[in-house]
Symmetry: C2
Subunit: 212 residues, 2 copies
Amino acid sequence: MKEQNISRATIDRLPLYFRTLRLAQDEGIDIISSETLGNRLNITPEQIRKDLTSFGQFGKKGVGYYVNELKRCIGDILGLNNHWNIAVIGIGHLGEALANYQNFASMGFNLVALFDTDKEIIGRVVSHIRVSDMTDLKQIIEEKNISIGVIAVPAQFAQAVADQLVEAGIRGIWNFAPVKMDVPASVQLVNEDLSVGLSRLSYFISSARDSQ
Amino acid sequence: MKEQNISRATIDRLPLYFRTLRLAQDEGIDIISSETLGNRLNITPEQIRKDLTSFGQFGKKGVGYYVNELKRCIGDILGLNNHWNIAVIGIGHLGEALANYQNFASMGFNLVALFDTDKEIIGRVVSHIRVSDMTDLKQIIEEKNISIGVIAVPAQFAQAVADQLVEAGIRGIWNFAPVKMDVPASVQLVNEDLSVGLSRLSYFISSARDSQ
DNA sequence: TAGATTGTTAATCGATTAACAATC
DNA sequence: TAGATTGTTAATCGATTAACAATC
């Protein structure tokens, strides 16, 4: 791995390659060309080759890429092979949906804890895991070696939850609350803002009507 | 509105401005500068001004932007003021969470229908709406003038659902299934791929460890 | 008028696309 | 060897940043 100036756009395409390679594995495909991979994703083969060579040489000229090997390499790059332990904080509708999200496991993430502050919710079992009290957050995060916290609480509580996660020594935060959060640079933060995608859709529908 | 070569990055920042302006309204702020707005979002004031001027002149030199007016203008640009009717297809955990997602309404979207194929789920009431049978999709979409379909079904059924939505005359699809979908160019498609954000987080956590 | 802040042009930076040599 | 496909360099395209004139 060279790892120098990798663009975010490249990083964001890697999970798409990873998933497509997994599907190719399931189909019993051993070797895949950048062209075939590109066709399956609507990405140009040049783009794929460029993305991959930022991390090393994974292909065989005149042949293509070995599916198993490339998938393993991309998993290594993305850190999926670390099998991070994750926790979901806020077991409302969204938190419950995330806790039940099957794709986590298929990407190598282990959901190991759920948290809430509501006495009605604490103790419930969701996705085979008992919901814990937020007051036990730090202890459980340390005990279970949890690296990633998923914030699914209402916006007004999100920063406080982030602060507690940071205090508990979390490595990364996946934030679904529509707020700008402040965390130390040592903690990675990814915001998942659902209103952006829906607004983009609204915009394009509106301008499609305009231009007709 | 000039509307020429607006970048997707610009479009994706508009909902952030919109939300921040709404919060500013709630705080009773009448006028806001690009600098203040930028501080609240970690976006440079130059970027904000550049984004806005691709659509027109909304500010007053030496003064700033009128919060109410700018919010209304951005709502117009994004088409939020059209108050699109939307439907969620697939009322599993994720579909239910999306149906209950409060931020829809605050952005002007009206959830008016839910669909599933499972007899156990059809007839249930989620977020004050009765779940309909998929076989009634076309009829209900026409009757209720639904413009946006939210796909929250398992990956293997997503394309078939998209086809039905297209057939029913939908204008836009917000797809949560992790598959590449094919729809006619006249139908807008936005993919919401949760594995991308989580993978990005994993990548940055992994490389943070590497570089320490 | 002086201070503040927008709107806009120019400069820089970064990402994608195209072309092709290397090589399996 | 001929055909196929990668890896890499160069060219293009697009987005962000910087600078500043316009003006409230």
